[in-house]
Structure formats: structure tokens, C-alpha cells
């Protein structure tokens, strides 16, 4: 089984820890992962803003970068949704059918829910719109989190509501985006969880920006970093978590 990691441009440049955690997690589960260096961006920002020409070139570039792999795994629901939902517009159905979001790959392909992780904190999970409505991840992330040793999962009120990121929406409609993000953070704080978890660093980047500006006692964290954390090699935040 030839498995490629599609780390995504956002994770590559700004959230490498998510990529590292994904690699370690998959290797721990016996998967040999490759990182095709030609990969860059799936084209979603261009496509969603209306620049189809620019998007199309990136679609073709991405399809070439991942040719020949049995599975392409990505720790980003949103990028997985772009590949799965939109790539067939340009005839790229093969990559679409081989691409999996990380939690999907774990549960559906590797058929594991207990990945042997250890994370002794209270966590609430934000499902993210693309994971929720496009990929229909359903209970997969919850099942994975519930099996983590030491982790206490708390239900997020209004979980299905968008956090307000929406790509360029966050900049084009900054006021509404901020209001949505602040409501999401308020819901997360109400759970009294220490960690706000999601399977998309794009949502988390927006929420983290608000959390740090408002100085709230909440840590945004990608699910890969929670599932990657073990008793032998635990997640080490730069600062104490609580």
C-alpha cells in the first residue's frame, strides 16, 4: 500500500507540528508514509474566491504530484473536501477517489478507533463545515477521541455551526467572521474544556487568533496532535496547557 501524505500548504508553512504528528501517528500504526515534495496547494483558496483559471492549474499540479499512490491522506477536512468534491469538475476523479481526510483514513481504511494515544486533558471538538457536511465524517473523530487514554471529551454546544473562517471570507467580511468566531469560542469556553480540537487548521488559525487577542483560557489543537500524543512521547506544548 503506497500512502502519500498531503500535508497542505497551510500546514506546511504555519502548522508543521500537525504534519509531524500525522507522520508519527501513521508510522506508529504501521503505515509507511511518503511525502511527495512536488505538492503545494490544492487550489481551494483560488477556486472559492472565483479564480477558476488559477485553481485549475493547481488542480492539475496536485493531481500530478500524487499520481501513483494508492491512498492520499490529509490532516485537513477542507482540502480533502476540495479534492473530493471539486476535482471531478476538471476530470480528476482518480485523485478524488484516493484522497482521505485523516480520521476517515484511520477509521475506514486502517479500521482503527483506538490508536494508542494518551492525552490527559479535557477536550471539546469543533467538527468544521467541510468535515461535517461535505465529507460527512460523522462520529469518526469522536470515536477516535473517546478511545484516547486520559482524554475527557465534552460536547460542544452548537457544534454544527460554522466558526466564521471561510477562507477569504475571514478578510472580506471580517466583522461577521469575528462575530461568528467569538460565538464559537464562547460555546467552547462554556464546556470548560482545556482544548478546542478540530480536524482543520484553517478554522483553528482563525479561532486561535481570536483566543490570543482576547486572552482566553483555551488551547486550539489539531486532532492529529492529540492522536499523535502517547505516554512515551506526549504532546509537549510550549507553555503549560492549563
Amino acid at each position: 500500500m503506497r500512502v502519500a501524505l498531503f500535508v497542505t500548504c497551510l500546514n506546511d508553512a504555519l502548522f508543521p507540528a500537525t504534519g509531524v504528528a500525522t507522520v508519527k501517528l501513521l508510522e506508529r500504526l504501521g503505515v509507511s508514509v511518503d511525502f511527495p515534495a512536488a505538492q503545494t496547494c490544492c487550489g481551494q483558496p483560488h477556486f472559492n474566491t472565483g479564480y477558476r483559471g488559477a485553481a485549475e492549474k493547481l488542480v492539475q499540479h496536485t493531481a500530478r504530484a500524487f499520481a501513483g499512490y494508492d491512498h492520499v491522506v490529509t490532516p485537513s477536512g477542507s482540502c480533502a473536501a476540495m479534492v473530493r468534491e471539486q476535482y471531478p469538475r476538471w476530470g480528476e476523479t482518480s485523485l478524488a477517489s484516493r484522497t482521505h481526510e485523516l480520521t476517515e483514513f484511520l477509521v475506514d481504511v486502517l479500521k482503527v478507533t483506538d490508536v494508542g494515544a494518551y492525552f490527559p486533558y479535557t477536550v471539546t471538538y469543533h467538527p468544521s463545515c467541510h468535515g461535517l457536511r461535505t465529507l460527512r465524517l460523522g462520529s469518526r473523530p469522536h470515536r477516535l477521541l473517546q478511545a484516547v487514554k486520559g482524554l475527557e471529551l465534552r460536547e460542544l454546544p452548537g457544534a454544527e455551526e460554522c466558526c466564521g473562517f471561510g477562507g477569504t471570507f475571514a478578510v472580506k467580511n471580517a466583522a461577521v467572521s469575528t462575530a461568528m468566531g467569538q460565538d464559537k469560542i464562547r460555546s467552547a469556553l462554556a464546556t470548560r474544556a482545556e482544548v478546542l480540537c478540530a480536524a482543520d487548521n484553517s478554522c483553528l488559525m482563525h479561532l486561535d487568533g481570536l483566543i490570543r487577542r482576547q486572552d482566553e483560557p483555551l488551547r486550539p489543537l489539531h486532532i492529529a496532535e492529540i492522536l499523535g500524543s502517547t505516554e512515551e512521547d506526549p504532546y509537549r506544548p510550549e507553555e503549560p496547557i492549563s
Binding site: 506546511d12 504555519l14 472559492n48 463545515c129 457536511r133 466583522a175 461568528m180 481570536l210 487577542r213
Partner: protein, 472 residues
């Protein structure tokens, strides 16, 4: 569409004002969350909801594909039943026809059933210019009219008002329009409803001309259908001597049988009711019963242009249930007024720029008034893929290269080039990591992001470099 909204600021600016209005936000949040929960419950009662949704989609698509044929059939059936059909290409023509019909009766007052089409064409304002007063009889429309306000929601036009605001509107304004509100009016729902009932009853009994829209028009029999909750519609449709109905051409369905689907999906999606309290159907005129004269104005006003767009035309499936508004997180914060159109929310964001074109600043901003979260598509009872149409319209706007889009296009093209050249990307990332200590907290161009949010820190090493060092 009516010129009333042109000159509106683009969506982001209008929405920003609304976001900072805490009363408005609280009103909207309370109302949308209440309807949202009720709708979900009403829909969950039907085990065949997905089939009904699919049936609705197919009926609408079939009708739109053969709309020319069904409209001609409808005209023949209405005429046969004693009605008169008028065709209006745009708002000006429709308003002209209505004003002339009212004038011909010698009346200067009309009662109205809540209608999106007449709002779309600005009929009340056009009639006022001709010396004709139009009285809105739907409770929420009455509140909007008394407040010299604009509707903020398709189904609940006064959703942005709370009870205290409505009480003072009734107490201060009703007397200027007719019967004044009773003394000592409280803001209890029963009191407010009674004040409206007394005020409106005088209007129903005096009116000689009624104006309505319609939810559906049945081509095979020439029957029009209005569904409503309050009974004011039934009064307006039956008491006056002359009834004038202004209806968008897309409201046509081929047969009575088709109503079976929509009379289930519409009330559950809109008011979360199994069946709406009043369903009125009328076919032409009947001796000694109801209006003596019936006029149907078939309104185009941009609809045939929408029909010509393969992706965008699905917006014409809309049955105006407003379920998409009630689940939309953007609508919930921005309110209806920010959309600068009688059609707010997700459906407005795809319908308005198609009906009016994307030339104005407000219309070019509407397709971007969404995070593409998909909640609207999920609840739509006729399965309009609103996110897909938004993307389609964004493509059109980006291509036009309107204000702000030239710079954006250049930036995205440049980033696209970098992103197709992994070595350049790697170098850029390295440079960013190497200079991370020198990055300003708010670099130029990051304004809209950093007003409320911190930028993420640039890590010491990109993933690409980590992989190079640790796994190759």
C-alpha cells in the same frame, strides 16, 4: 428589480453595522434559533422527507425547462376561468399595469396580502406616487410599514424587532394609518395581536381592491395558491371586488397533483407547521362569490436571464420558505437589511445578483457573503445547491474584475505561480522562518485580519524542511 435598494453599501460594510447592534443581534439570534429547532423537529416527523425534497426539485426543474409551454397553458386556463392575464417584462411595466388597473376602479386605497414579488418591484412606492395607498395586512408587514422600515426576512419581515419595539410602533403610528391602538397597550402578544386585528378589520371591510402574490400557479386549471398563517390573506382574496395578483413566472407548477409535494415541504420548512393554517386557492372569477374582476400579472423582471444560466437557474426553484435564512450563521449576525434586497440570506445572495446583475457594489459583494458552510443547502426543501451557485457567481465577478478584484486577481495569480513551483515555495518558507523574529505583529495588508485576531506565528521550520531532515 426595484431601484429602492441601489446605492446600498456593499454587504461587508452594512453587515458590520448590524454586527455592532447588540439588540438586533439578540433579536435575530433568538428568532433564528427558535425557528431552526422547530423546523428540524417538523421535518424529522416525515420519513419520506428526502423523497419529497427530490420530488420538489424534479417538478421545479421540469417546469422551468418547459416554462414557455406551461405559461401559455396557464394564461389560457386563467382566461377561460374569467380572469385577465397581463405580462410584465420588468418592475416599471408591472407597476404601471397595477396602477392603471386600480385607477380604473376609481379607488385610492388597496389592501395587500404579503407578497415578495410586489416588494421586489417596489409596488407600494409606485402606487403612492400615483396617489394610491397600499395597506399591508400581514402582521409583520404591518409592523414594517408602520415603522417606515424594510423587511428583514422573507417569512418574518419584522424578525429584527422585539415586542417592546412593536408596542411603541403600534401606540405611536397606528392612528396615522387608520384605527389607533387601544389605550394602555401592553407588549403581550395577545394585546398586540388584538390591536392589529381591530386596526386591520376596518381595512378589510372597506377595501374594494385587493393585491396579492401567489405561492403557486397551477398551469392546468389556472388556479393560484396562497398559503398563510393569519387569515388576512383569505380576507384580502375574498372580500374586495377586484383582485390583482402579481406573480413571478417561476411560481408555475404543471398540475394540482404537484401541490401535494409543496404543501408538505413549504409549511414544515418555513413555519415548522405540518400544515399552514390557511391555504387559499382561486381560479378566475365566480358569480356572487369573491372578486368580480381578477387580474394576473406575470412578472419576468430578470427571471428569463436567470433561466438562461445553467448553474444559476436552480435559484428559480426557490419556494420562499426561508429555511436557509434561519440556519445561516452569516444572516444570523448580519440581519436581512445588509443584503440590500427584499431577498436576504443565502437565497438572496444568489438570487439578487442574478436578477439585478452584478454591476453594483452591493450586488458584486453578495456572492461573497457566505463562508460556504453548506447549512443552507442541507435544509433547502428543493435542494438548491446554494454554495455551488455562490461559487459560480464568484467566478463571474472575479472574471469581470470589478473594484478590488484586479489586485486580488494579480495576488492570487502570483500565489498560484509560487504554489506550482515547490522549490520557490520552499525558499519562501525558509525566508519566512529565518526572518520570523523581525515580523511585525501587524504587517501591512493584514488589516482586516488583525483588527480582531492575532496572526499565527511563523514556525522555526516548515514541515517540508522537517521531512527533509528527519525522513529522507
Amino acid at each position: 428589480m426595484s431601484a429602492a435598494f441601489l446605492g446600498m453599501p456593499p454587504f461587508p460594510r452594512a453587515a458590520e453595522e448590524a454586527v455592532h447592534n447588540t439588540t438586533l443581534r439578540a433579536n435575530l439570534r433568538h428568532a433564528t434559533h427558535t425557528i431552526r429547532a422547530k423546523r428540524a423537529k417538523a421535518v424529522a416527523e416525515l420519513s419520506d422527507w428526502e423523497q419529497l425534497r427530490e420530488a420538489g426539485r424534479q417538478i421545479k426543474d421540469h417546469t422551468l425547462r418547459h416554462l414557455d409551454r406551461y405559461l401559455i397553458q396557464l394564461e389560457a386556463a386563467v382566461t377561460e376561468a374569467g380572469g385577465t392575464v397581463h405580462w410584465a417584462a420588468d418592475a416599471t411595466e408591472a407597476n404601471r399595469i397595477v396602477a392603471d388597473l386600480v385607477k380604473a376602479t376609481g379607488e385610492t386605497e388597496v389592501v395587500k396580502v404579503k407578497s415578495m414579488a410586489t416588494q421586489e418591484i417596489g409596488l407600494n412606492e409606485a402606487l403612492a406616487a400615483e396617489g394610491i395607498t397600499a395597506y399591508e395586512t400581514d402582521l409583520a408587514e404591518l409592523i414594517v410599514q408602520l415603522g417606515d422600515d424594510r423587511p428583514s426576512h422573507i417569512l418574518v419581515p419584522a424578525i429584527h424587532r422585539n415586542r417592546a419595539e412593536i408596542r411603541s410602533l403600534f401606540a405611536d403610528e397606528m392612528g396615522k394609518w387608520g384605527r389607533a391602538a387601544p389605550h394602555g397597550l401592553t407588549d403581550s402578544p395577545a394585546d398586540l395581536a388584538e390591536a392589529a386585528r381591530l386596526h386591520l378589520r376596518e381595512k378589510f371591510l372597506r377595501a374594494r381592491v385587493g393585491i396579492s402574490g401567489a405561492n403557486f400557479m397551477v398551469a392546468e386549471t389556472g388556479t393560484l395558491v396562497v398559503v398563510e398563517s393569519e387569515g388576512n390573506g383569505r380576507m384580502c382574496l375574498t372580500l374586495p371586488r377586484t383582485l390583482i395578483s402579481v406573480v413571478g413566472i417561476e411560481k408555475t407548477v404543471p398540475t394540482w397533483r404537484d401541490l401535494e409535494v409543496f404543501l408538505q415541504t413549504l409549511p414544515r420548512s418555513s413555519t415548522a407547521e405540518r400544515m399552514n393554517p390557511y391555504t387559499s386557492l382561486w381560479t378566475g372569477t365566480t358569480d356572487d362569490d369573491g372578486p368580480r374582476d381578477f387580474h394576473l400579472i406575470l412578472l419576468d423582471n430578470g427571471r428569463t436571464d436567470v433561466l438562461a444560466d445553467e448553474v444559476g437557474r436552480q435559484a428559480l426553484r426557490c419556494i420562499r420558505c426561508s429555511a436557509c435564512l434561519n440556519v445561516c450563521p452569516v444572516y444570523e449576525r448580519a440581519g436581512g437589511h445588509a443584503y440590500g434586497s427584499v431577498y436576504p440570506g443565502p437565497i438572496g445572495a444568489i438570487l439578487t445578483p442574478q436578477l439585478r446583475g452584478t454591476g453594483s457594489a452591493i450586488d458584486a459583494s453578495l456572492p461573497y457573503a457566505s463562508t460556504l458552510c453548506g447549512a443552507c443547502y442541507e435544509v433547502c426543501p428543493v435542494a438548491i445547491d446554494i454554495p455551488d451557485v455562490l461559487l459560480h457567481l464568484r467566478g463571474r465577478i472575479a472574471e469581470q474584475g470589478g473594484p478590488g478584484h484586479r489586485v486580488e486577481r494579480a495576488a492570487l495569480a502570483a500565489s498560484g505561480w509560487v504554489l506550482r513551483h515547490p522549490t520557490v515555495l520552499a525558499a519562501t518558507e525558509k525566508l519566512a522562518a529565518a526572518t520570523r523574529g523581525m515580523h511585525p505583529r501587524r504587517p501591512p495588508g493584514s488589516g482586516a485580519w488583525t483588527t480582531s485576531r492575532e496572526l499565527p506565528d511563523v514556525p522555526t521550520q516548515s514541515f517540508r524542511d522537517w521531512w527533509q531532515e528527519n525522513r529522507r
